[in-house]
Point group: C2
Chain length 87, copies 2
Amino acid sequence: MPQHVVELIGSVAACLTTFAFLPQVMKVWRTRSVRDISLITYATMTLGVFLWFVYGVGIGSFPVIAANAITFVLSLFILIMKIRHSR
Amino acid sequence: MPQHVVELIGSVAACLTTFAFLPQVMKVWRTRSVRDISLITYATMTLGVFLWFVYGVGIGSFPVIAANAITFVLSLFILIMKIRHSR
């Protein structure tokens, strides 16, 4: 595969996975319904992307820092809504 | 930060984000309830991790290939369950 195609695929992949949780955030915000959402999934994901963020700081990679900062905020929001709206 | 600490943090982060969807898979499998799950989130995530997988092949990185292959299967499973069990 040509190098520029590989880089393009990586960039599109990064955008998609970074913002993928945004529709879930909007759905949870709109419905306030979180029954089907897994608490452990979002607790694990939030901690995981936080550690990716720290890793990005450690290696001095701006793309890793930026992408995971965004995903951290989205994942944390879903986690907080899950905890708050679970009975 | 010492290099080995940075590498350890990156490895833990990779494990957490790779397997984070497993509890969501188990919850959806057990309950067959997917109302609160966002279709667009899992469609975007599934496509995104597939492209990360292709990127991993392109740069010849086994960790990127392996991690995203696992996440792809988990995310695709949730997506299929969402489509199948939505009314």
